[in-house]
């Protein structure tokens, strides 16, 4: 399926059908990341049962250095 991740169109295997699956695919599941799916924040505890579908808009953000 095709997802729009951080503004970029990216092909992802249909096997990665949950937010947790997607994070695991990119090796981000042990990182401090926050995920937004179609402009709604996905709480950590619901990441494993939040399903993704073709065309979904996903934002994956984290903390970086700043003042």
């Amino acid at each position: 399926m095709e997802l729009v991740i951080n503004g970029e169109k990216i092909q992802v295997s249909a096997a990665e059908s949950t937010v947790t699956g997607l994070l695991r695919h990119f090796d981000l599941h042990h990182k401090v990341v926050i995920v937004e799916l179609n402009d709604e924040i996905v709480a950590k505890e619901s990441q494993s049962d939040t399903r993704l579908s073709n065309g979904d808009k996903v934002e994956i953000v984290h903390f970086v250095g700043g003042g």
Binding site: I5, N6, G7, F26, D27, L28, K31, V32, V33, I34, E36, I41, A43, K44, E59, I60, V61, H62, F63, V64, G65, G66, G67
Partner: protein, 255 residues
């Protein structure tokens, strides 16, 4: 003690985490600064570089309170969204509201800042807005429930120091919540002056991260802030137009 919301901190230095030469220098700078509150920004992740190190992962999060900022927001709506993202990390409930209204001066948009601050207070955040040194705006921010007020000394990263000490003093005098001088600090003496004016704390980043020796500057800032605070608490002498002798004028054995 610096009390923000229900939390107490023994350090009055809040340190930014941007633009250090490398993580090792940054880690040592943070350590010697004694800072307990560290600011961060929220940004999109490069998902194809998961192995890229992140400073947050190098911190013992039990020792520090994270103060994410809403930098990048130009409107109250964008700031509220970033605040929600930051809180969803599960690592913090404090937010530095930063709504920039002009890209050249990086001065905050007062109207959007006030709107964002008011909404975030209602949503239960601990809210610390970065604001200009406008005295009445500081008052309004306090009235909507902000937990601290953070007026700038001079433009962000400019290192120009305190340009309007009078306004800062007025803000400090009227405030019932902590006032943290944020932005524009260049030297330890700038930080000391902020504290001597009665500020409850100083937030700085570039002054340390951009110094030739950031670790040494972190130590200098820590000492300056402690020194300035002690000076404020001790109470300075009155200024006089003419000299007043320190030695007794009676009992001189000459003349």
């Amino acid at each position: 003690m610096l009390k923000i919301g229900s939390r107490e901190f023994s350090s009055r230095l809040l340190l930014g985490t941007g633009k250090y030469p490398d993580f090792d220098i940054q880690r040592q700078s943070v350590e010697v600064s004694g800072a307990e509150i560290l600011t961060f920004a929220v940004r999109r992740m490069n998902i194809f570089e998961a192995s890229q190190p992140n400073f947050l992962e190098k911190l013992d999060l039990k020792k520090y309170t994270l103060l994410p900022n809403t930098a990048g927001a130009k409107t109250a709506k964008e700031a509220v969204r970033i605040a929600h993202l930051a809180k969803a990390s599960g690592l913090c409930d404090m937010i530095k509201v930063e709504v920039i209204g002009c890209q050249k001066t990086l001065l905050p948009d007062p109207i959007e800042t006030l709107k964002a601050a008011e909404e975030l207070v209602k949503l239960g955040f601990i809210v610390l807005p970065y604001t200009s040194d406008d005295v009445l705006l500081a008052k309004r921010l306090e009235e909507v429930g902000c937990h601290a007020i953070m007026p700038g000394a001079s433009p962000i990263g400019s290192g120009q120091g305190i340009l309007n000490p009078l306004n800062l003093r007025f803000i400090i005098e009227q405030a019932q919540v902590p006032v943290i001088v944020d932005a524009g600090i260049g030297t330890p003496s700038d930080a000391a002056i902020a504290m001597e004016l009665g500020a409850d704390g100083v937030l700085l980043n570039t002054a340390v991260s951009g110094a030739k020796d950031p670790i040494k500057m972190a130590k200098a800032m820590k000492l300056a802030i402690e020194s300035g605070r002690l000076g404020y608490e001790a109470g300075r002498i009155e200024k006089n137009e003419y000299a007043i002798a320190s030695s007794p004028v009676e009992g001189m054995s000459i003349g």
